[in-house]
């Protein structure tokens, strides 16, 4: 060993640890911990971006007022069948979570998580302004709703297609490894490249989809400016973009399933789809749950697709939470209200992170 650092020879283990930890702890404290608490602090103020930039004292402490302005309204009441579809799904979902746990398809943690989500789905849409009342922010809850619709469409799409693909390409041959690379490739493109491609794919005048429909005598569909199709277009784009990582995680899960199980099943004539249903799915339950939770966390943060492809439109039909936070902060300069929404986002995502952590620890 070189004879440098002779002064370090007297350094104790704790001192060495401190020196080595310092770079990370410093950046971590400065750029994550402090901003996090500062975000909460901003959310308790009436804080205009421009005004405070010119005069640091131009902010006013308002307590939880921003949260009220974002989430609450005048004369809000609650009813059991205000949004019948969501609320009935909530009740059914609650029953389903108990049922799935009883028959042993899902673990306790998963059942509890599903149950809580179902209760929220029953309770939250029941709030509404009474006669003469109104929401202080008309756009917030519809935006949350759009985000949930996006997550609700994208996550199953990604999970189901990634699972089927992973099961199909799970062989160590050259052709299969080429397929794996190919299906993963779109994942590593940036959101701006992905939206660039798909914006033009969906274009009614220049788009590939329109060109093909026209050749077969159809009239081109105006995807991105149609209130009902815009969200579908963004969901398709996102599935194309983010299938890769889910497939990789499923492949890792598939590697852990013993080959003996399949060989034993083959003796009972269970191959192909039968083997997939009776062996692959039950043994992959943990991975499936983890991928779902991860995808929910990932897709809940959707921003670029809605920002670049539709600008949240038409008529706010693709306005999502992060884009609303961005606009409230940097277009309307209302940092207080935007921060309150960011805290709301953190609470939801934090709940899913805890769930992910608990699920990761479960079993084994």
């Amino acid at each position: 060993m070189p004879e440098k650092h002779t002064s370090g020879r007297r350094m104790t283990e704790s001192q060495a640890a401190l020196v080595l930890l310092l770079p990370f702890l410093a950046t971590y404290a400065l750029f994550l911990v402090y901003p996090f608490f500062r975000g909460i602090w901003i959310s308790l103020h009436d804080w205009n971006l421009m005004a405070v930039a010119f005069n640091p004292d131009a902010k006013e402490f308002v307590g939880l007022h921003n949260y009220e302005r974002v989430m609450w309204g005048k004369d809000i009441t609650w009813g059991a069948l205000i949004s019948p579809v969501q609320q009935v799904i909530g009740v059914l979902g609650f029953g389903l979570s108990i049922f799935l746990h009883r028959i042993g398809w899902v673990s306790k943690v998963t059942a509890v998580a599903l149950g809580v989500a179902a209760i929220l789905l029953f309770v939250l849409p029941g709030f509404h302004p009474a006669e003469g009342g109104r929401w202080y922010d008309r756009r917030f809850w519809p935006t949350v709703g759009n985000t949930l619709i996006f997550v609700g469409l994208t996550v199953p799409g990604v999970v189901v297609s990634a699972l089927l693909l992973a099961a199909a390409v799970n062989r160590e041959t050259r052709a299969m490894s080429a397929f794996r690379t190919l299906f993963f490739l779109s994942q590593i493109m940036s959101v701006t490249v992905v939206t660039l491609i798909w914006q033009i794919m969906f274009s009614p005048r220049q788009g590939l989809i329109a060109n093909i429909t026209e050749t077969f005598g159809g009239s081109p569909i105006v995807w991105l400016t149609d209130e009902h199709l815009a969200m579908a277009a963004i969901v398709i784009t996102t599935i194309w973009w983010s299938l890769g990582i889910a497939m990789i995680l499923f492949l890792a899960g598939l590697q852990d399933i013993s080959k003996d199980l399949y060989e034993a099943a083959a003796l009972d004539n269970a191959t192909g789809a039968k083997a997939f249903w009776h062996i692959t799915l039950p043994n992959l339950k943990r991975t499936i749950t983890l991928v779902i939770v991860l995808q929910v966390i990932l897709q809940f943060q959707v921003f670029g697709q809605a920002h670049l492809m539709t600008r949240g439109g038409p008529n706010d039909s693709t306005q999502v939470l992060v884009r609303y936070i961005y606009q409230t902060a940097f277009r309307d300069s209302d940092l207080g209200r935007a921060s309150a929404m960011a805290v709301f986002l953190f609470v939801i995502m934090g709940a899913f992170s805890v769930l992910q952590f608990v699920l990761g620890r479960e079993e084994d």
Partner: protein, 278 residues
């Protein structure tokens, strides 16, 4: 395994695989077609999937004027800076947390990893005000620094250092080598594969990052290629021409695609570890 069913599977997979590739092929193909043709129709040959008539004019134009080369350079600087920074803070802290003994170790580990719960969207507004107070927006440090505090890097390195057998370190310690020397001369060389994984993951992340550069870099000189591409795609048809915008898209993707194809093994490994735990 190589029976008839296998060849049937390959054929069956070829269809979705081709569909999956079409958008990418289309982008590449459009980037090689003249703008005058694209202004009339995008489906000249085989729905535009084959670049006929062919031209490389779009790429020549891209590099002779416009700001794409500068944005490309900015992306390289930011990605390299971020990768170096993340490696520095993650290897040191990962080693300390995994292999050294010190007071409050357990609580410190939890504190370091709990940050995994905080999404960037929860901190980008306060970060914006902090950097505005410092007057640091529109600079490389503004694009790089907030991204060094990534607990996932610490987690990856910690897992790696934990797996190294004790006797290697023990032998060095008996020779009277200091802790920092063990870290530098013994541990870091062993950690090369894990550092490689982390570096690739960070470069991919830096290259594709969008939200933070969008709020921090308002001047075009400090746009990354991802951000620059977003700024020209909104009015592509009028100003730049479709072919040129598509060429920018190809150029913007090329480095990460090439990197992925070369280091696929590392990327997949990183995604698996990072995905299931972080």
């Amino acid at each position: 395994m190589l029976n008839r069913g296998y060849y049937w599977l390959i054929t069956a997979l070829a269809v979705p695989a081709f569909l999956w590739l079409i958008p990418t092929i289309w982008m590449v193909s459009l980037s090689f077609q003249p703008n005058e043709v694209l202004a009339r129709t995008t489906s000249t040959t085989a729905f535009g999937l084959i670049p006929l008539p062919f031209t490389i004019e779009n790429y020549v134009a891209l590099f002779s004027f416009g700001q794409t080369p500068l944005w490309f350079l900015n992306s390289l600087i930011v990605a390299a800076g971020m990768a170096l920074g993340v490696l520095l803070v993650s290897t040191t802290s990962g080693y300390a947390l995994a292999r050294l003994d010190f007071p409050f170790k357990k609580s410190l580990t939890i504190i370091c990893l709990i940050g995994l719960m905080v999404p960037e969207q929860a901190v980008f507004i306060p970060l914006y005000t902090m950097f505005a107070d410092l007057g640091w927006h529109n600079s490389y440090q503004a694009l790089i620094l907030p991204r060094l505090a990534v607990p996932i890097g610490v987690f990856l390195m910690m897992q790696f250092f934990k797996a190294i057998p004790d006797d290697i370190e023990e032998a060095a310690r008996l020779d009277g080598v200091t802790w920092l020397q063990i870290f530098w001369y013994v541990m870091l060389p062993l950690a090369r594969p894990a550092m490689m994984t982390l570096a690739i993951l960070t470069v991919l992340y830096a290259w594709n990052d969008y939200l933070w550069p969008l709020v921090s870099a308002q001047r075009q000189e400090f746009f990354t290629i991802t951000l620059g591409l977003a700024s020209i795609q909104s009015n592509f048809a009028q100003s730049e021409g479709l072919g040129r915008v598509m060429a920018s898209g190809v150029i913007a993707s090329l480095p990460v695609v090439i990197m992925f194809l070369i280091f696929q093994r590392y990327v997949v490994q990183a995604m698996t570890v990072g995905g299931s735990k972080g």
